[in-house]
Amino acid sequence: MNDQQRQQNYDDMVKRLSPKSEKPFSLLKAFVVGGLICTLGQGFKDLALQVLRLDQEGASLFCSFCLIFLSALLTGLGVYDRLGKFAGAGSIVPITGFANSIVSPAMEFKREGFVTGVGAKMFVVAGPVLVYGISTSVAVGLLYYVLGLLGG
């Protein structure tokens, strides 16, 4: 058996033994879980608008606060990471995923202390999100300011 044949046999074996791709199913799971989290958010928002009589801005914040609270709690209890294994991006992309990305590493690195452990590791993912989000918003603000000068 020459090298090429051996390689070919090996490739065939890998193909045969590797688990069947569950890509379409994982897309469906991400869609459903992500959609449900957003629907829950809309529920919180409507509750704030109609029962608590908050304005639009207050209702949006109430919605974010409730979702972040739930995500932080469920991450602490170890439930959110199990949801993450099931839902993939469905649990990463909503704001609950952002909160999870803060709690998870902070909890993990608690033994390194409350400053360089919890305080620093909270921002492993949230830090870059804030850096690029806020920087882009400042750039957009500047652009609008310049356009305003040119136009007005």
Binding site: S26, C38, I68, V93, I95, F98, A99, V125, Y144
Partner: protein, 120 residues
């Protein structure tokens, strides 16, 4: 009412599905996807495309991280109109302050109160 919730579910689900496609077919990690979604949200808001989407999809547009970008971008744009150049610097962060502080405080409390479960 029911129709509103159907729109929220479909639009929010679709954004997450895009995220899952990126996870499956590119080498992007979840951190990079979150950064990309926030930045995309700011840019789409600046182009005037995200605001109509928010009106259509409600929480389906604001709960995904692109909605966080929308908050930042809209804050900066509105503040520039109101306060001029200073607004460019303060607007985005001011608008997002409530969400950022919630995430930091609740995240910190959860991390302090809970101990991680041992991995299987």
């Amino acid at each position: 009412m029911l129709l509103t919730y159907a729109r929220v579910f479909l639009c929010g689900g679709l954004i997450c599905l895009v995220g899952q496609l990126l996870l499956l077919y590119t080498r992007l990690t979840s951190a990079r996807i979150l950064v990309a979604f926030v930045t995309l949200g700011v840019v789409l808001t600046a182009l005037g495309l995200y605001e109509p989407f928010v009106e259509f999809a409600g929480a389906g547009a604001t709960v995904p991280l692109t909605g966080f970008g929308y908050l930042l971008g809209k804050g900066a744009i509105d503040a520039v109109a109101e306060k001029g150049l200073l607004g460019a610097l303060t607007g985005g962060t001011t608008a997002a302050a409530g969400g950022i502080a919630s995430a930091i405080v609740l995240g910190y409390l959860a991390a302090v109160l809970f101990t991680p479960k041992t991995k299987e």
